[in-house]
Amino acid sequence: MLTEVLQHIKLGDYLTLLLGSVFVATISATLWGGDFASKAIIRSGGKIFREVPLSRDQQIEVPGPLGISIINIQQRKARISSDPSPRQYCVRKGWLQLSGEIALCLPNQVSLELSGSRKRYDSLNY
């Protein structure tokens, strides 16, 4: 069955198949591959509190109306590790590493947003 099918494929067809596969792989990687973020934007009370690069591991304490939110940056990823908000949504969001990802602690008015080389659109833009 397989050899019967393969005999219809000529040398140039393999070239076409290879080109097509490379094209599909490239286009998938550029359109789907979320680019990894390079910096974190931390906001408190609607204003930018700090912008930090993800390259350096660190822990940042952000004050809000309810108390202190703690943001951890480790191995080019960032998360809110502790927050005084009652429902803990932003903490449960976990590690963020792609640009455009965001964790919001609304009660404490703290947000952690990652951004990369280019600004991506998300539904919040509209």
Partner: protein, 182 residues
């Protein structure tokens, strides 16, 4: 009383084109019975006929068969002049443009498989162009391109293989020739 019958003189080639388009239509109807996971992802079985016609009778006949199939198919399914019709039409036109170039690839190294893959990509490109310029002018549709491109590669290869197998088989290849139309 005037004779109201209109008689159009048809040539043997017209009959042949019509019968080939009818075969393509049959495949289109068959294909519409297959459920699709995503609107727009279809095997495009009718293109097998286009490929065979292209290699045997040339680009002009292939263009006739392909465009007749699109128009007649839309009449059958009741979507003539709807967005779906224009999607199919733009895909078919762009495929034909690409095939006009691809048919000159050296036959020694390139078979219908290559033609089919290039035409499938062109089909998707034509459709996406219409979608972007007319239906959904938003860059968000770019997220769907990898899905469509993968489908084009897979279905293009499969259709090309079917067409190549048909053409390489002398038993079934010569049953319907242009020289002896019914």
């Amino acid at each position: 009383m005037a004779n109201s019958t209109i008689k159009i003189d048809t040539t043997a080639e017209d009959h042949h084109i019509a019968s080939m388009a009818a075969v393509a239509l049959g495949l289109t109807i068959l294909e519409n019975a297959i459920p699709s996971p995503l609107p727009g992802v279809k095997p495009g079985l009718a293109n097998i006929v286009t490929l065979i016609v292209l290699s045997r009778y040339g680009w002009r006949v292939a263009a006739w068969v392909s465009l007749l199939r699109v128009v007649a198919g839309s009449l059958l399914f009741g979507n003539f002049l709807t967005p779906g019709f224009f999607l199919g039409l733009s895909g078919a036109i762009l495929s034909l443009i690409v095939l006009a170039f691809a048919q000159h690839l050296p036959k020694r190294w390139f078979s219908a498989v290559s033609h089919s893959i290039y035409a499938a990509f062109a089909h998707i490109a034509g459709q996406m162009l219409v979608v972007y310029l007319w239906l959904i002018p938003h860059t968000g549709i770019a997220y769907l391109i990898p899905v469509f491109a993968t489908a084009a590669l897979v279905f293009g290869t499969v259709n090309g293989l079917i067409a190549a197998r048909f053409m390489d088989n002398p038993d079934i290849a010569n049953t319907n020739t242009i020289e002896n139309p019914t």
